[in-house]
């Protein structure tokens, strides 16, 4: 099975890097969508179904926290698993993002295999 993933990050360079890492890690990717903030991500999600979301926290307009809040309030979208990718590895921040509905958390810097492992864990790949 190949998966559809949405990458949410205000840095075009980081979005390209994450996409490349997913592709080169061997994770089966069929489609990859991108958004530069939470607002744009919600627009993408209303038009395209995805299996997983990878989101940054610090973004303009709608940041990662607000994005997760809005996602959890939307009945049609709340079941999509979101994984946070952030430089912030403090316990408080991780706990808060998980309490807002994140299913996983990857701290930057990360090795490609870490991101793949977190995607597979979240999507329960191999546990069908």
């Amino acid at each position: 099975m190949a998966y559809r993933v949405l990458i949410v990050d205000d840095s075009p360079a980081m979005r390209l890097f994450v996409r490349r890492v997913i592709e080169f890690s061997g994770f089966e990717l069929s489609d990859c969508f991108e958004a530069s903030d939470g607002e744009e991500a919600l627009s993408v999600l209303r038009a395209e179904w995805v299996d997983a979301i990878l989101t940054d926290i610090n973004m303009p307009r709608v940041d990662g926290e607000e994005f997760l809040r809005r996602l959890s309030c939307d009945e049609g979208l709340r079941s999509i698993p979101a994984i946070v990718i952030s430089t912030d590895a403090t316990r408080n921040r991780i706990d808060r993002m998980m309490s807002l509905g994140a299913r996983g958390y990857v701290t930057k810097p990360f090795r490609p295999e870490m991101l793949r492992a977190e995607l597979e864990r979240t999507l329960e790949v191999g546990h069908d």
């Binding site: 840095s11 080169f24 430089t87 912030d88 590895a89 408080n92 810097p109």
Partner: protein, 153 residues
Amino acid sequence: MIEPDLQSALAASTQETLEAMFFAPADGEEPGPADWADAPLTARLEFAGEPSGRLTIRVPHTTARAIAADFLGEDESAVEEKQAGEVLCELANMICGSALSRTGSQGEFRLSEPRLGAFDGPYSEGAVSHTAATGHGPLEAILEVKPCSSVER
């Protein structure tokens, strides 16, 4: 309360970021003064919380383009100046967040958006720096921590 060993936190974070996300060799040659012949490209971001301060990173322009190519998976000749700047800003963001997470602070911190500029010293008293080999030339990271929570813009 921040732990005193900022120097080792900065060094470890710089090295880990370069190795994990820029595929830099772990045992690169120690950069020397000659490696700085090219004019540097500099990125800076401020952080607020506990602690507050700023991080600056400098690399020669040629190095910036080469490490951006590694990060983006592009040929170096295809990397635009704008992309090299974006990647340098992202690198500053990652080194800063990682170093702060290593300081032992349990409080949260907020990072400003990194920006490019002419941010040469002088740096504040107590600043710590680390120069690393990227495989394409040197990279210098300078971490300055303020005693109070206010951050200059």
